[in-house]
Symmetry: C2
DNA sequence: GGTGAATAGTTTAACAGTTTAACTAATATT
DNA sequence: AATATTAGTTAAACTGTTAAACTATTCACC
């Protein structure tokens, strides 16, 4: 690839990804139910989609210290959205699950976000958006590999 | 478009964008100089690229209240990275500029981030990445319009 | 089988970022 | 001239974050 073209692509990518992230985040904020923060929403969502979720897994997934997770989980547990259950075989481990209240909250937000994303996605033609998501997923894979290499060092 | 396909695309998009954001952010964190936070980095970057930057403009661009910007700018000004200058014609307005120290810091990070993004981008072929960025920019445009409609309500 | 290392999670202190509301100072409106 | 609007700051309260020290449990292995 030509050097100049690469430089231009880099600039465009850096700029557009910042832009889209900011705006998408602010749109999602608008869809979230009842005073949940965006981080709390993502934590709840992750717990729902994970089979046996632990604090360590969350810390790994969100790339923060475990104590940051403890703080968030405490707030959500205080509000009755999350429940903690000790593993009977390994009593160090605490499994996190959503309460019914937590599930309901997530469900409402999930539907709203889906509608929002749908209203955006359908403005593209199918080939374009499919290609886009395919490349996006390749990018995710590359980033995962880079992170793993970084860990391995 | 078929309903099922749309649903699948939505799920994939929501999932992959979360994934890429988390990982990209953590990679960028690793490139930032001297204890700047990622928000501080983006603020400095924005000030550099804007002609006559004010707190109000930053608050708009980052979608937060002006008082949040004041707090960040205070910290950066205390460290001598940013300077404030009052507008002589409208003395309510304060222009924000980078000090030499601030510019140097940004430059170093900028180079590192560029190298990082370059090492990623060059793993794709030119057509694919160009198409990807084109679509990404369309998406940015759609989100901008949605935000503007929201404001207009 | 007991000792030391590793693991899961919590606590605490300190700080960054955020919102809301009240405020100051300057400019615009009428 | 009086009133409203605008730019920015301050203060209080909260969320998210790290680093370091801690508890409780399990693992390794001699």
């Amino acid at each position: 690839m030509d050097k100049k073209i690469i430089q231009e692509l880099i600039d465009r990518y850096v700029s557009v990804s910042f832009d889209v992230n900011k705006k998408a985040e602010s749109l999602i904020k608008g869809q979230i139910e009842e005073d949940l923060t965006i981080d709390q929403h993502y934590i709840i969502k992750y717990i729902q989609n994970s089979k046996e979720c632990t604090s360590s897994e969350l810390a790994e997934a969100f790339d923060v210290n475990k104590s940051a997770i403890t703080a968030i989980i405490n707030r959500l547990a205080d509000r009755g959205l999350i429940e903690r259950t000790r593993d009977e075989n390994d009593r160090r481990v605490v499994y996190l699950t959503l309460s019914d209240k937590g599930k309901q909250l997530l469900q409402k937000t999930h539907e709203k976000v889906h509608l929002l994303v749908e209203s955006i996605i359908t403005q593209f033609d199918e080939t374009e958006i499919t290609n886009f998501i395919n490349t996006y997923e390749k990018l995710a894979l590359i980033l995962t590999n880079m992170k793993m290499e970084e860990m391995g060092e």
